[in-house]
C-alpha cells in the first residue's frame, strides 16, 4: 500500500481486532502479576511485547506473509499488548511519591530493555532460520 493511500477496511479491522486481543492479554498480565512499588506487570508486558516485535519484524523480512499479518499481529496485537501511556503514568507516580531513584530505574530500565528485547527477538529468528545468510535487504554492519 503506497503511503498516503487510504487504508482498506480489512486493514483497519485487522488492527482493531488485534488491538483488542493484545489489550486483553495485557489486562490478563496485570491481573496475574501483583502491583508493587514497581509496575511489574507493565514492565513484563512491554518487554515481552518488544521481544515478540523483534521476532515478527525479522521473520517478515525473511519470508513473504499475508498482507494482513503485520497489521493484525504487529500494529494490532503487539501494539495493543504494549503501552507507553501506562509506563509514563507509572514513572510520574513514582516521581510524585518521591521515589526518584526507582522512577529513573524504571524509566531507563524499560527503555533500554525494550531495545535489547527487540534485538534478542531478531537474533532468535536468525538463529532459528535454516538459511541464516538469507539476510536483510538493508543495513551494512551488524
Amino acid at each position: 500500500m503506497a503511503a498516503g493511500s487510504r487504508p482498506g477496511a480489512a486493514v483497519l479491522a485487522a488492527v482493531s481486532a488485534g488491538g483488542a486481543v493484545g489489550a486483553a492479554a495485557r489486562y490478563g498480565v496485570s491481573e496475574a502479576i501483583p502491583g508493587g512499588a514497581v509496575p511489574w506487570a507493565t514492565l513484563v508486558a512491554n518487554l515481552t511485547g518488544c521481544l515478540l516485535m523483534g521476532v515478527l519484524l525479522e521473520a517478515l523480512e525473511r519470508r513473504p506473509a499475508h498482507p494482513l499479518l503485520r497489521p493484525f499481529l504487529g500494529t494490532g496485537v503487539l501494539g495493543g499488548y504494549t503501552t507507553f501511556s501506562t509506563y509514563a503514568v507509572g514513572v510520574h507516580a513514582l516521581l510524585e511519591a518521591g521515589r526518584t531513584g526507582l522512577a529513573l530505574g524504571y524509566l531507563v530500565g524499560t527503555a533500554l530493555g525494550a531495545v535489547v528485547a527487540v534485538q534478542v527477538g531478531a537474533v532468535l529468528v536468525r538463529a532459528a532460520s535454516p538459511a541464516g545468510r538469507a539476510g536483510r535487504a538493508t543495513g551494512g554492519g551488524r
Binding site: A3, G4, P7, V11, L12, V15, S16, A17, G18, G19, A20, V21, G22, A23, A24, R26, Y27, S30, N46, G49, C50, L52, M53, G54, L57, P71, G74, T75, G76, L78, G79, G80, Y81, T82, T83, F84, S85, T86, Y87, A88, V89, V91, H92, L95, E96, L107, T110, A111, A114, V115, A117, V118, Q119, A122, R136, T138, G139, G140, G141
Partner: protein, 122 residues
C-alpha cells in the same frame, strides 16, 4: 465485564493509532517516527488526565478500565517504539535512535504529569 470494556476501548484505540501514525507520516515523512511519538504523547496526556480526574471525581471503574487501560493503552505502544528505534540504529542513524528514546520518554512523562494537573483541576 471489565475485560470486555478493555477490549472495546482497545478496538478503538489501536486503529486510532494506526490512522494517526499514517497521517503524521504523510505530512512529516518517515525518516523519524513522529507518528508513534505523537500517539504516545497524546495517549499519556489523556491517561494522566483521566487518572487525575478519577482522584477528584467518583468516576466509575468501568470507565477508567475502558478509556484508560483499553483506549489509552492501545492508542500508545512500546513495541513499535522499540522496533522503530532499533530500525534507526541499524540504518546507522544512532543519533536519531537515541533522540527518539530521550524525546519519547521525556515527552510522555511530561505529558502524563500535565494530564494529572489538568485532571485534578476538573
Amino acid at each position: 465485564m471489565t475485560l470486555l470494556l478493555v477490549c472495546v476501548g482497545a478496538a478503538l484505540g489501536a486503529p486510532a493509532r494506526f490512522l494517526t501514525d499514517r497521517a503524521v507520516q504523510a505530512r512529516f515523512g518517515t525518516r523519524f517516527p513522529w507518528g508513534t511519538l505523537t500517539v504516545n504523547v497524546v495517549g499519556s496526556l489523556l491517561l494522566g488526565t483521566l487518572l487525575g480526574a478519577a482522584e477528584q471525581l467518583a468516576l466509575p471503574p468501568a470507565l477508567v478500565a475502558g478509556v484508560g487501560t483499553g483506549f489509552c493503552g492501545a492508542l500508545t505502544t512500546y513495541s513499535t517504539f522499540g522496533g522503530e528505534t532499533v530500525a534507526l540504529a541499524r540504518r546507522g542513524d544512532g543519533v536519531l535512535a537515541a533522540g527518539n528514546v530521550v524525546l519519547s520518554v521525556a515527552a510522555t512523562v511530561a505529558a502524563a504529569s500535565v494530564g494529572f494537573v489538568l485532571g485534578r483541576a476538573l
